[in-house]
Every structure is written in structure tokens, then in C-alpha cells.
């Protein structure tokens, strides 16, 4: 209850300040839109279905890209964690690659895939693959060895051992990495969409800029934040709660 009050006070103050600054008209409205201008832009965008379509297209892309990242990253991470040679060689390379912003892959992606959806997917995958891989590698190492031993002892091996023992056993240790991977995937997608104009939220944002409509720009920014936040709050928080119910106190990750 107290928390809700804190939220109301904070966001009320923020909105008040924004309204005040807009009312003072220090900057012209096309540079500094008012809250109701943004609200109107949001309403109009949903009314003419522009935003619905953009959200659908963007979500589709991010789900495909992130999905591929998760599958590839888990395989890669497990390989790196369980093979000494890979750990020594590829492990270091992956960490160093993480300092590369995913959009740096854009020129290569354009050459390899052409100016289309696949180039965007490639950037999204490159953006999130590393965090998933590193998280999986780390999770596999942190996971108590005894689970693997118990699993093998009870007759699980190969693919079954991975699916029924190693993967569920490492889940509490990789969930934060999966979350980070999602955040990276979402950011990479919006960046790529801003460069390549073909539907999607990034494109709608750039459209606002081209029309000099800052209300629309801020409206889309709010949408991007909201979607990222909702996925985090619903999907990943739900997953964490689910794990907590099963494991009890989470092992220190």
C-alpha cells in the first residue's frame, strides 16, 4: 500500500513537472510536446492500427530471434562449460565479443542477407546469443555436481540427461542470463528497425522524426519501454516465482 503511494507521488510529480515545462512554452510544442499531446498521439496510433501492426511485427521478430538465441546459446554454453578446450579458447572469445554492440553486425548482415527481415533477425540473434551462452556456461558450472551424478546413476545419459537433469538443474542459475538476453534482443531489434524501414516499432519511431512529430516519437518510446517492462514483469518474474515454489529458497546464484 505504501509502495503504491510512493509510485503515485513519484509519477505524479514527474507528470506535473512535464506539464509545467510544456505550459511554460520555453520550447516550441513540436520540440517539447505536452503529456496530452503524447496521449493523443498514442490514441491516434492505436485508432488507425499503426501501433498494433508495428507491435505485432516487432514482437514476431524478437520472438523468432530470441528463440533461436536461446536454443543456440544453451547448446553453445553447455559445450563451452563441459569441454576444457572450448572453455579455454571460445570462452575468452565470447567474453571479448560481448563488448561489441550488436548493431556493429548490421553492415555485415546487410551484405550477407540483403536488406530484409533476415538481416534484422541476425542482429537480434547476435545481440542476445552471447548473454544466453555465457549465462548457460556459468549456470552449468554453478549447478551442484551431485545432480549430474545422481542423474547418471539413475540411468540418464546423453540427450535425456541434458533435458531431464542438466537443463532443469541449471535453470535457477541461468534465468537472470535469459532475462538479460531478452533485454539485449529487444534493444537490438529496435535499433535495427530504426535503420531498416519496414514496419515495426523502430520504423514508426523514425516516421515520427521524419514528420517532425515529437509527440509520436515519445509515444513510441513509451510503447517500447512498456513492452520490455511487461515481458520482464510477466514472463521472467513468473518464471522466477515458479522456480522459487519448486526449489524453495533459491540457491545463491
Amino acid at each position: 500500500m505504501k509502495r503504491v503511494l510512493h509510485y503515485v507521488i513519484f509519477y505524479g510529480a514527474l507528470l506535473g513537472l512535464w506539464t509545467l515545462l510544456a505550459q511554460l512554452k520555453i520550447w516550441p510544442p513540436y520540440l517539447f510536446p505536452s503529456p496530452w499531446g503524447v496521449a493523443e498521439a498514442l490514441y491516434a496510433g492505436f485508432q488507425d492500427h499503426t501501433y498494433w501492426i508495428a507491435i505485432r511485427v516487432s514482437m514476431q521478430r524478437v520472438l523468432i530471434g530470441y528463440g533461436i538465441s536461446v536454443v543456440l546459446g544453451m547448446i553453445l554454453g553447455l559445450g563451452v562449460a563441459s569441454n576444457k578446450f572450448l572453455e579455454e579458447t571460445m570462452g575468452g572469445m565470447l567474453v571479448s565479443l560481448q563488448s561489441l554492440p550488436s548493431i556493429c553486425w548490421w553492415p555485415l548482415a546487410l551484405l550477407w542477407f540483403g536488406l530484409n527481415q533476415n538481416a534484422i533477425l541476425f542482429v537480434v540473434i547476435m545481440g542476445s546469443l552471447l548473454s544466453v551462452t555465457l549465462a548457460m556456461e556459468d549456470g552449468r558450472k554453478q549447478m551442484p555436481r551431485i545432480f549430474g551424478m545422481a542423474g547418471r546413476n539413475l540411468g540418464a545419459k546423453g540427450f535425456k540427461l541434458f533435458c531431464y537433469v542438466l537443463l532443469p538443474a541449471s535453470l535457477p542459475f541461468i534465468v537472470s542470463g535469459l532475462k538479460q538476453g531478452w533485454a539485449f534482443a529487444w534493444r537490438s531489434l529496435i535499433t535495427a528497425e530504426m535503420l531498416y524501414l519496414s514496419l515495426g516499432l523502430g520504423q514508426v519511431l523514425m516516421m515520427g522524426r521524419d514528420l517532425n512529430d515529437m509527440s509520436a516519437v515519445i509515444a513510441v518510446m513509451l510503447l517500447i519501454i512498456a513492452i520490455g517492462y511487461i515481458v520482464d514483469g510477466v514472463v521472467f518474474k513468473g518464471m522466477e516465482r515458479h522456480l522459487q515454489n519448486k526449489w524453495g529458497l533459491m540457491p545463491a546464484a
Binding site: 551431485i146 551424478m149 547418471r152 546413476n153 540411468g155 537433469v165 526449489w247
Partner: protein, 315 residues
Amino acid sequence: MSAGMQNVPTQLPEPLRPVRFGSTSGTVSQISAARPISAGSSEIPKVSLSEICLSYRTQSGQRLLALDHINLDVNAGEFLCVVGPSGCGKSTLLHLIAGLHPQTSGQVFLDGKPVQGPGPDRIMIFQEHGLFPWLTVRQNVEFGMKMKGISKAEREEQTRYYLRLVHLAKFENSYIHQLSGGMRQRVAIARALATEPDVLLMDEPFAALDAQTRDLLHDELERIWSETGRTIIFVTHNVREAVRLGDRVVLLTFRPGRVKSEFPVELPRPRHLEDPEVARAARRILEELRDEINRSLEAEYNVGVKPRIEPGVEA
């Protein structure tokens, strides 16, 4: 013999059922009272260790002989206890029998056949944390059967049977973290038995429990053992527990681990931890063990820290 072992334990043919509780006679000196009938010397032992050696490389790079020419036979249906000071390699010995870890030289035999890797015929029960926290009690017990590819209906029936055997039927849908330490170890026992193993390998399974719970579990384990006729190899550092449970107690030396001596325990069952006979037999073993404990303590004091053995780091 092995065909009988595959059956549901209640249907074991009569000759396989170990004779217990003084059905012939209950006097202290009676040797046969606690011995399974099938443990005749002419038969192939259930588990046989032949010239087992294991050496590790420690983190500082030196070679360390952990197990040194271990020779040991365990008869079918026997309850064997292995005692020794901490660091003598008694847990490692179980890992070798389970096939979870390769020995440096020597061979483990099961029914006369060399052991290659892990198998559901030899199931380990760990001291702690061996259960899967992401599965319910029922799913844990089912796990081994699922890996074997046993049908769902049969799995459910078996699981119900074994959960009743350890008095946990009411908790089948609980998660592991919701159970007490004693209940967890009973789940571990049910999970192990559900794969119908020939041999149960128990690695200090009750060491982390309080005394009352341990007492109860001793009774339960003895009952389950006499009902199912499994072979049990039970590792502990608690000599009295070993005498309480075992048909025979094997004492290992400290680093390198060798078989120092064997003590047949010919006391009638059921026994109790507080029985004077149990205490007397334990004292005898403890005297021999004391030298080894002193050596292990000396090593600790001299080195400051015992060289840490990292399982899995082969020499």
C-alpha cells in the same frame, strides 16, 4: 537369482528372503541369524572389488594415492558397512562401484561381470542434496523408471508402492524443500529402490540428521532391507551405526585407503544403537580406528589444510 531380484519385493521367492530375527535361534553368538541363506561361499559374490587403486593429482600438482589395492567381496543380500576416518576414500569407493568415476587400476565386478559405467542396478543414496528439487516427491521416485522407459501406469503403481514402504504416501506431491531432512532421505531410499537395483550404495545417508530421526531411519532401513533382500554397502564414519546395521564392518585405513580389518557382526536383529553388545563391538572397532583417526588428524595439523581431493581430477 537375478530374475527374482527383478520382481516386486513382496513377491520374492522364499529362499531369497534373508532369514532374520532369530528364526532359528536368537542367541548372541549365533552366526547364521543375521546371514542371508544365499551367502554361501561357493556362489559368485554380488559385488567384488579386485585390486582397486585410485590416484589423484592434487591442486598443487602432487600425486596422491587415495585407494590402494582394495580387495573386497560382498555377498548377495549382505549388509556391509564401511568405516574409516574422513578422507580415507570410503565415499570414493562407492563412486567407483556406482561407475560414476573410473578407477586408476583394478576392476569392480557385479555378479562376476566387470562394471562399465553407471547403471540402475547400483543406485547411490547421497548424504544430502541428491534429490532433484525441481521435481515433486512422486516425480523423483519415478525418475529412474522413466529413464528405463517403463510405462506410465506401471510407474505410478510402483511409485505408490515404494512411497508407502517409506511411509510418505501423503507427500507425493510435495517438493523436496518442503520436507524435513529425515523425510528427504526416505524419498532418496524410495527413489533408489524404485529402479529395482541389486545393490544400494549409501554414502553417509544419515550423517546430517538429528539423533532421533537417525534412530527411526535405522529401524526403517533394517526393515526395508529385510523385506526387499537387497545388497547394501553403507559408508559411515560412525562405528556404532555400522555395528547397529551391518552384517559385517570393514575398516579402511587413512590415506592411502586400504582394507585394515573386517569384523563380522553376529548380533541378533533387530539391534539398537544403545544395546550393550553393540557398544562393546563398536568399542573393539573403534580401538583400531583410533590409530587411523590420529593419523588423519596429524595430517590435518601438519599440513594446516588437508590436500584437497577434487573428484574428477584424474592423475
